[in-house]
């Protein structure tokens, strides 16, 4: 039992610390992401949620602590190397390629797994792997009608969808999603949530989100951060009952 359980832990971070000078943005945080689970991280602005994602994805180095992905210690790995090993992330602000078409955005993301940069005699559009992968994620995320549109001209919700599509195009098993619902309308939110549920069985998902209704509906496990530290971690029901959380975050007294 213990063994099969740990096989499903795809990402395991222990005692992560990140200091910016005297400020401790992330203080001794541990987190486990399991396949088939949506793990939400909530907390007020400045609680260290985005810093945590940046540490996990390798965008900024840790001050101390260890990060383990799929059984490998990746603490010293560069961001591209971690991405190659199956970690995908989306950003809070849209970081699509605004000048390129929706298709090319996805194709370029998919190409990361089939780079072959030396094959300069072959057209990128004839790279079967990235073309078919891009078409697949476009289909999956419902962007088919806008496939050839320039990404910068999409609506905000579509850009968020594209953001997730590009993340999926790299075939990650661990998804770090930084506020995927930000600025979305009710319909778009519903669609995104059911989409995340579809992804859940085959992925380990970390969700940083401000929309509390959505979080308590969809998350299997919630970590609550305040001032860089974890004050509670558990199922939505446990977190809701937690006295510290009620005082510090949910505002109940």
């Amino acid at each position: 039992m213990e063994n099969s359980y740990s096989q499903d832990v795809l990402l395991h971070a222990k005692q992560l610390v990140r200091r910016w000078g005297g400020l401790v943005a992330v203080n001794n945080v541990g987190i486990e992401l399991r396949r088939g689970e949506i793990h939400a991280v909530i907390g007020t602005n400045g609680a260290g949620k985005s810093t945590l994602i940046n540490l996990l994805s390798g965008e900024i180095p840790v001050s101390s602590g260890t990060i383990n992905i799929l059984g490998a210690d990746v603490t010293t790995w560069s961001q591209p190397k971690r991405a190659q090993s199956g970690l995908g992330r989306s950003y809070q602000r849209n970081t699509i390629f605004p000048d390129l078409s929706v298709f090319e955005n996805c194709r370029l993301a998919a190409q990361a797994h089939d780079q072959k940069a030396w094959m300069i005699w072959q057209d990128a559009d004839q790279c079967n792997y990235s073309v078919s992968k891009a078409n697949a994620v476009i289909e999956k995320t419902g962007l088919k009608e806008v496939k050839s549109r320039i990404a910068g001209a999409l609506s905000h919700g579509q850009k968020r969808q594209l953001e997730v599509a590009m993340c999926l195009a790299t075939d990650p098993v661990i998804l770090l999603l930084d506020e995927p619902l930000a600025g979305m309308g009710a319909d778009e939110t519903e669609r995104m949530l059911s989409f995340l549920n579809e992804l859940k069985p085959s992925h380990a998902i970390l969700l940083v989100e401000h929309d509390m209704d959505a979080v308590f509906r969809i998350a299997d496990r919630i970590t609550v951060m305040v001032n860089g530290s974890v004050i509670a971690c558990g199922t939505p029901a446990e977190v809701r009952e937690d006295r510290n959380v009620q005082i510090a975050y949910l505002g109940a007294e």
């Binding site: 994805s57 965008e59 560069s78 961001q79 591209p80 190397k81 991405a83 190659q84 992330r89 950003y91 970081t95 699509i96 390629f97 605004p98 000048d99 390129l100 078409s101 090319e104 194709r107 370029l108 993301a109 190409q111 990361a112 797994h113 089939d114 780079q115 072959k116 940069a117 030396w118 094959m119 300069i120 005699w121 072959q122 057209d123 990128a124 559009d125 790279c127 990235s130 320039i150 590009m166 790299t170």
Partner: protein, 334 residues
């Protein structure tokens, strides 16, 4: 090749091919010098227009290519063309590898300054040491043979050799930009951050493109040295790096033909403002006229001379403004 590129390059090369038979010796010399600068400009367009790396030290690679050609043919008289050409390209590429490996660790304005600093170092090495003949420069004593007895000392053979070089560079770059490597370079220009998060080790992409760019600049330097049979440290000065940067901005960033158009436009403007027949004594101050003309061009056509047909078309149909948002990079640029 995209249609717009095709409609430009077909007549362009057709004119270049027949020009030696209708032009004067002076005009042929001018054209071939400009063709060489077009190759030089293409090397920088690859960095600035495609990858978004503003290199302000491109003259170093150009100058090293030129100096290696002269120094090697002084050591080994009547050298083989291909060995000499290979040596010049390899020397520039090697320098680009070292400069790139160090400077690509910086970004933005720091990158501009670091590349300038390296170029100035190379400039002073050539300028202040006996290695390259000092400020006086050195002469090339024998030009390489193309085949049999036909050497590049024959102006007509050299002319076609340089035009062929430009064509080869254009075809090579056109192919490269359509490849996965080229698409990744465009991605790096637009959003390097995202490229890294997606799993691209962008440093190696940038280093590779920097080396390729240096090699092409070396080719241009080689041609320049063979053409004039003389090199001096001014080839490596920062003025040269600046001039080639102005060429690609004038022509229009993001298009290979922009670099070619820019090189010719720059040379034409220079020729115009230097002309004593037109400006009389004022032609001494040709830099002033050239500068003003460039400012005027860039202010009127921020996207470069490449956008001129679209501008005219829009003026005729009265829709200028709407088409300015079109980005040249939505596909591969060629």
């Amino acid at each position: 090749m995209k249609k717009s590129a095709f409609t430009f390059f077909t007549p362009f090369f057709a004119v270049l091919l027949i020009l030696p038979f209708i032009g004067s010796e002076y005009s042929n010399d001018w054209v071939i010098k400009t063709v060489i600068f077009a190759i030089f400009a293409l090397s920088l367009e690859l960095l600035v227009g495609t990858t978004g790396l503003v290199c302000f030290g491109q003259a170093a690679f150009f100058g090293v290519g030129a100096y290696v050609a002269v120094l090697l043919s002084a050591q080994y008289p009547s050298p083989s063309l291909w060995i000499l050409l290979g040596a010049c390209i390899a020397a520039s590429a090697a320098l680009a590898c070292v400069v790139g490996a160090l400077s690509l660790r910086t970004q933005g304005v720091y990158f501009i300054m670091v590349t300038l600093a390296f170029a100035q170092m190379v400039y002073y090495i050539v300028h202040d040491t006996p290695l390259g003949g000092g400020t006086d420069g050195i002469y090339l004593n024998s030009k390489p043979k193309l085949f049999l007895d036909y050497g590049l000392d024959n102006p007509l053979i050299f002319y076609y050799f340089a035009v062929a070089s430009l064509l080869v560079v254009l075809l090579f770059l056109g192919m490269m930009l359509r490849s996965r490597f080229g698409h990744a370079l465009v991605g790096i220009r637009i959003n390097e951050h995202r490229m890294r998060a997606t799993g691209y080790d962008t440093y190696f992409y940038k280093l590779a493109v920097f080396i390729i760019s240096g090699a092409i600049a070396g080719l241009a330097g080689f041609l320049f040295a063979i053409k004039d049979g003389f090199v001096n440290p001014e080839l490596l000065s920062w003025h040269q790096s600046g001039a080639v940067l102005i060429m690609i901005i004038l022509g229009g960033l993001g298009y290979l033909r922009g670099a070619v158009i820019g090189a010719f436009a720059f040379a034409l403007l220079e020729e115009f403002f230097r002309s004593e027949a037109i400006f009389g004594a004022f032609s001494k101050h040709w830099h002033l006229g050239l500068g003003l003309a460039i400012i005027f061009c860039v202010a009127l056509l921020p996207k470069g001379l490449v956008s001129l047909p679209a501008y005219w078309q829009a003026r005729l149909t009265g829709r200028w403004g709407g088409s300015t948002n079109k980005d040249p990079h939505s596909g591969a640029n060629s």
